[in-house]
Amino acid sequence: MATDHTAFLPPPVVSAGPLAWMRRNLFTDWRQTALTLIVLYAVIRGVPPLLGWLFVDATWQGTRDDCVANGGACWAFVSARWGQFIYGFYPADERWRVNVTFAMLALSVVPLVLPMVRGKGWIIGFLLTLYPVLAFCLLYGGVFGLPVVETARWGGFMLTLVVAITGIVGSLPIGILLALGRRSNMPAIRTFCTLFIELFRAVPLITVLFMASVMLPLFLPTGFSLDKLLRALIGVAVFNGALMAEVVRGGLQAIPKGQYEAATAAGMGYWRMMGFVILPQALRLVIPGLVNTWVAIIKDTTLVLIIGLFDLLGIVQAGVADANWLSASVTKTGYVFAAMGFWILCFSLSRYSMYLERRLGLGASR
C-alpha cells in the first residue's frame, strides 16, 4: 500500500512554539521591537509598585497612624467604614432589609441569565411589577410593621444600585416609546417626541437633576411634595430615556420594510407588529448601544451627589474628609475602592451583554 507520508508530517518547527510566536508578533522588525521594549519597560516600572501599594505595603487593620507609617493602601479605613460605604446612613439594625431586597433581585436575575431556564416571562413580569413594590416596601418601610427609613438616610453602594437599576429599568420603556413616537405618522406625537428627545439630549444630566430637585417643587401644588430621591430617580430615568430613544431609533431604522409588510399583511396591528416582529429585532441589533447607555447610567449615578444624595462615591468622599482618617493614603484608597466598585458593576454588565449578543446572534444572522 502506498502511503502518502506528507499527510502525516508535523508542521514546520519555525511556526510553532512560543519563541516563533514572539518573533512573529513582538519582534517582527525594528519598529515592533522598539515598541515591545517600551511597553515592557513601562510594565516593569509600573506594575510592581502598584502591587506593592495595593498589597505588600498595605495596612489591613489599625488606625490612620498605622496607614501613614506603612505608606501603602489603607484597607483598614475601608473595613472600618464598610457598613457606611455599603448602606449609607441606613440604621444598622435594619440593614438586613437592604440585604433581602438585593438578594431577591440577585436570585431572580440568575435564572434569567441562564439559557436553559424556562418561564423567563414570569420572572421578568415579577421583576417589573411586583418586585419594585416589594423593594420599596422593604427599603422604605412603613408596612408589615417595618419602621420607616427616610430616603435621606439611604446611601453608599445601596443608593448607587437603587439609582442605577431604576435608571436602567425606567429608561428603556421611556426610550422605546419616544423612539416609536419619533417615527410615528401622527404629526403631534412625532413633534412632541422629537422636541422631548432633543431637549433632554442637549442638556447635561446635572442640569436635569438640579431642575428636578429645585425647580420641580415650584410647579407642584402646595402641600404636595415629592421625595428628593424620587425626583432624582425620575430625572435620571427621563434623561436617559431620551438618550435610549435615539439608540432604539437606530435599530428601528435597520429593520427592512419587508418585515413591516409581512406583519401588516398577516393582520397584525401596530402594537403587535412592533412588540413581536420589529422591536425584538431592533433591540437585538442595538445591544452594544443599549449597554453603552446602561454603563453610562451606572457611572452617572455619582452625579446625585450634586443634589445632596450620598451614593458610593459621595459617601467615600465624605469618609476621606473625616478628621480621624484624613491622610493622603486614605484619600487614595477611598477613591480606588470606589472605582473598583463601579468597575465591577460596569464590567460585569458589559461581559453579560457580549454573552447575550453571541447567544441571540444565532437566530438573528441573515
Binding site: G258, Q259, A265, G267, G269, Q281, R284, G363
Partner: protein, 242 residues
C-alpha cells in the same frame, strides 16, 4: 370575490395604476405579467392595502376596502401574502413564524396553532425544518415556509408577489410545485410572476399590464398563442417561454 372598479394610484406625480377594472371569481387563478414598473405589484398590494389607492373602489368578499382600520383587519384576515424576499421573521424559528399570527391575531390556542403549523409544514414538504431559524434554510425552503405561514391563517385568497424572482433556478421548481398543488386544491390565487410555464399550466386567466393599465387579458392558451396588442407581442417575444 374581488372586484376593482376604476382604481387609480399615483406615486407623487407618476400614475402607477390607471383605471384598473378587474374581477376575480372564487377559485380563479390569475397570473399578472408585464414589464417591470408596469404596476403589477402595486395592483396586488392594493388588494390588501399594503398600498392605498387614491381613486376607485376595491371590494373583497363583499367588504369595501378603505383605510379604515376595522375593515382593513377584516379584509386582511382573508388574504394571505407571499413576498419576493420571503420576509420571514429572522428572530423566530420556523414553527414560531407559523404560529405568531395564529395566536396573536386569530386568538387560536398555542397547541392548536402548533398543530395547524405542523400540518402546513407537511404540506410544503419540510416538516423536519420546524425548529430551525430562517437563516439556516435555503431560499426555496424559506419561500415554502413563507407560503405555509400565509396558509396557517386559513385565507380565502392568496397573493403572490414575484415569489420565485429571488431564487436560484434550482429552487424555483420546488416553490412552483407547492403553488401548483395549492391551485389544484381550489385556492383563489393571484400571482405576479415571470414564470410563463406556470402561467400556461396553472392559470385560468393571464393579465398583461403595461404603464399602469391592464392592456390585455384572457385564458393563457389564447394569450400565449395569439396576443392582441403590440406591447404584449413584444413582451412575449422577449421572455423565455418554457
Amino acid at each position: 370575490m374581488i372586484a376593482m372598479r376604476g382604481v387609480n394610484k399615483w406615486f407623487g406625480q407618476m400614475r402607477v395604476l390607471a383605471d384598473i377594472n378587474l374581477t376575480v371569481a372564487e377559485g380563479e387563478k390569475l397570473v399578472i405579467c408585464g414589464p417591470s414598473g408596469s404596476g403589477k405589484s402595486t395592483l396586488i398590494r392594493c388588494i390588501n392595502q399594503l398600498e392605498h389607492h387614491q381613486m376607485g373602489d376595491i371590494v373583497v368578499n363583499g367588504i369595501k376596502v378603505d383605510a379604515e382600520l376595522k375593515t382593513l383587519d377584516l379584509v386582511r384576515r382573508d388574504i394571505g401574502m407571499v413576498f419576493q424576499s420571503f420576509n420571514l421573521y429572522p428572530h423566530m424559528t420556523v414553527l414560531q413564524n407559523l404560529m405568531l399570527a395564529q395566536v396573536w391575531v386569530q386568538g387560536r390556542k398555542r397547541r392548536d396553532a402548533e398543530e395547524v403549523a405542523r400540518h402546513y409544514l407537511d404540506r410544503v414538504h419540510i416538516p423536519e425544518q420546524a425548529d430551525k431559524f430562517p437563516a439556516q434554510l435555503s431560499g426555496g425552503q424559506q419561500q415554502r415556509v413563507a407560503i405555509a405561514r400565509a396558509l396557517c391563517t386559513k385565507p380565502k385568497i392568496m397573493l403572490f408577489d414575484e415569489p420565485t424572482s429571488a431564487l436560484d433556478p434550482e429552487m424555483i421548481k420546488e416553490v412552483l410545485d407547492v403553488m401548483t398543488e395549492l391551485a389544484t386544491e381550489g385556492m383563489t390565487m393571484i400571482c405576479v410572476t415571470h414564470e410563463m410555464g406556470f402561467a400556461r399550466n396553472v392559470a385560468n386567466r393571464v393579465i398583461f399590464m403595461d404603464a399602469g393599465r391592464i392592456v390585455e387579458q384572457g385564458p393563457p392558451a389564447e394569450f400565449f398563442s395569439n396576443p392582441q396588442s403590440d406591447r404584449a407581442k413584444l413582451f412575449l417575444s422577449q421572455v423565455r417561454l418554457n
